[in-house]
């Protein structure tokens, strides 16, 4: 393990070929925050994560995490998984069934030298709300509880990189919503870079700062969450799920109508009353299918959220009947999915000013 790459970056290059599957990725990721590896099943995102962990051995590989070299096929270097300072959260919590929750947590903790422990036991146990579960055996825990113990177990090894392989995929919606707040707190309170594998656009939109979109073992796009999701050239794979994420701030509450006003660069939207206090940050997602376009400001309409915007570009959508329109709403990118017929009737062309009518806003938080 020698220093050779700029600190604060994760450089990963893997190339491997199996019968019927090929992975060929070259990633430069920020060394902090949450990076989502996003794509359909079979896109290679889990394989990519397993390569980073050293659980899968790619033929041609190079991996550096914040200046530490873990893998370099050219130099014949392969640090085995158990010598990499990483935490791994599997899709199923995979707790050791013969050990209590506490002993599961201690399993990893005890194998890390005291001098290298940077994560505090009490902090993690509290962060994931598992204080009352410690003496229980995994078999007596619910799926969500097991996953929380699994996450805590990984964190207690003080990893320099946390890998999460669809940690919510095996859970039902209720359990998902039970865990998501813990993941958000994790992002805010611990300074550990996270690689998060997911096929759920909502999870990615809610948690990630950076996105890598994979398709058939290759990187289709990578970049900041907002810019990447608003790109038009992404595989129409996203289809119905195409949309953008907007970072907003709670401006004020309208108690008479039970609404909350959120502001962001370029505009504001009204949403049903939120519990957050004014000044708090809140992410929301606008699906392209929920945005319609009008040349003039609509009067006598029930749609409250209207934003002045300018057409930036048009691209093919997931069906021949539709087009995707990329808009610039005063600095905030938006996507609209409308019929080709409407696009022609409105005479859409780059530069055209118009009004974006937002039918629905999905709040992520």
């Amino acid at each position: 393990m020698t220093d050779s790459s700029p600190a604060g970056q994760i450089l990963a290059r893997f190339r491997l070929a199996w019968p019927g599957f090929e992975l060929d990725v070259d990633l430069t990721l920020p060394g902090r925050g949450v990076t989502a590896l996003f794509g359909h099943s079979g896109s290679g995102k889990t394989t990519c994560l397993r390569c980073v962990a050293g659980l899968e051995r790619a033929g041609e590989s190079h991996l550096e995490v914040n200046g530490e070299r873990w893998q370099d096929s050219a130099a014949g270097l392969f640090v085995p998984a158990h010598r990499r300072a990483l935490g791994y959260v599997f899709q199923e919590a995979s707790l050791f069934p013969h050990l209590s929750a506490r002993r599961n947590l201690e399993y990893g903790l005890r194998r890390v030298r005291a001098a290298q422990r940077r994560v505090d036991w009490d902090h993690v146990v509290k962060l994931l709300g598992i204080e009352h579960l410690l003496e229980r055996l995994p078999g007596t825990l619910s799926g969500g509880e097991r996953q929380r113990v699994g996450i805590a177990r990984a964190l207690l090894t003080s990893p320099r990189l946390l890998l999460m392989d669809e940690p919510l995929a095996a859970l039902d919606l209720k359990r998902k919503n039970e865990i998501l707040p813990y993941l958000e707190r994790l992002r805010e309170e611990l300074d550990i870079p996270v690689l998060y594998v997911s096929h759920s656009p909502d999870e990615v939109a809610r948690l990630a700062d950076h996105v890598v979109l994979l398709d058939q073992g290759r990187v289709v796009a990578q970049g900041g969450l907002r810019e990447t999701l608003a790109r038009l050239d992404l595989p129409t794979a996203l289809g119905e799920d195409a949309g953008v994420v907007v970072e907003s701030v709670v401006a004020e509450h309208d108690d008479a109508y039970h609404l909350t006003r959120l502001t962001f660069p370029g505009g504001e939207v009204l949403v049903a009353r939120r519990p957050e206090a004014p000044g708090q940050r809140l992410r929301f997602r606008v699906h392209a299918r929920d945005v319609s376009l009008a040349l003039t400001r609509a009067e006598g309409s029930s749609i409250t959220n209207l934003l002045p915007a300018r057409v930036e570009a048009l691209a093919a959508a997931d069906t021949p009947a539709h087009v995707l329109v990329r808009l610039d709403a005063g600095g905030t990118p938006l996507l609209a999915r409308i019929t080709r017929r409407s696009a022609d009737q409105l005479g859409l062309a780059p530069g055209l000013p118009l009004w974006a009518q937002i039918k629905a806003v999905a709040l992520l938080g």
Partner: protein, 226 residues
């Protein structure tokens, strides 16, 4: 007293033989079973078949080849003689060697099944929690494979107690050295001492029943990995 001095000596010898054999088999059989459970080598099939041979071979065949190999002109015999140990046939040590081969599949197969049932995931989890391969084996594999070890020990012990042909071939019939219970019963019957044969034979039936009872009762509960 229905049991003679010779009968008691035979029982003690049998228990000693079975205990020692089981212990050795756990030591030798564990790595073999681990290898068989994990390897992708093309040798997996042949090695598995060799280990399982005693299941189908007549004990006399196994005993015959062991006798030839360990005898004064066989390769193992030459080797033990050069070490000044003499030859193994017709000694207790020779009986232990024969029993180890004879009972091998009864230990290796339950262990192999137990290791295979654990699967890849717990090992990967342990690796991501900084446990090296040996550490993983002792802290994860052994506890999870415990039912397999219980089964393997019971079967290995019981099967050694029940052997006859191999003992006769390489052990002969030396009181206190190689005369086990099964051989003693044979002797009683040859000498028309049916009453004494009954005591030992009946004892074997009861013993075997309780061993198998213990085995089948211990299989009620298996913790899953999740």
């Amino acid at each position: 007293m229905p049991l003679s001095v010779h009968d008691i000596a035979a029982i003690r010898l049998t228990l000693e033989l079975a205990s020692l054999t089981t212990l050795l088999l756990l030591l030798i059989g564990t790595p073999i079973a681990w290898w068989l459970a994990r390897t992708r080598s093309r040798l997996k099939g042949p090695v598995g078949a060799i280990v399982a041979l005693p299941l189908v071979l007549p004990p006399t065949v196994l005993g015959f080849y062991l006798l030839v190999t360990m005898g004064p002109h066989g390769p193992v015999g030459q080797f033990t003689q050069s070490l000044g140990l003499g030859t193994l046939p017709f000694t207790f040590a020779g009986l232990v060697v024969g029993s180890v081969f004879y009972s091998m599949p009864f230990v290796v197969q339950p262990l192999q099944n137990a290791f295979e049932a654990i699967g890849e995931r717990p090992l990967e989890v342990a690796a991501t929690l900084r446990a090296g391969p040996w550490d993983t084996f002792f802290s994860v594999v052994l506890p999870l494979a415990k039912p397999g070890f219980v089964t393997a020990s019971i079967l290995g012990f019981a099967h050694t107690v029940g052997e006859f042909g191999v003992v006769l071939m390489i052990g002969g019939n030396i009181p206190g050295v190689t005369r086990t219970v099964s051989v003693q019963i044979f002797d009683h019957v040859e000498a028309m001492e049916y009453a004494q044969a009954h005591w030992l034979a009946g004892g074997m039936v009861v013993f075997s029943f309780f061993v198998l009872l213990a085995l089948y009762s211990s299989r009620r509960f298996k913790p899953g990995f999740n």
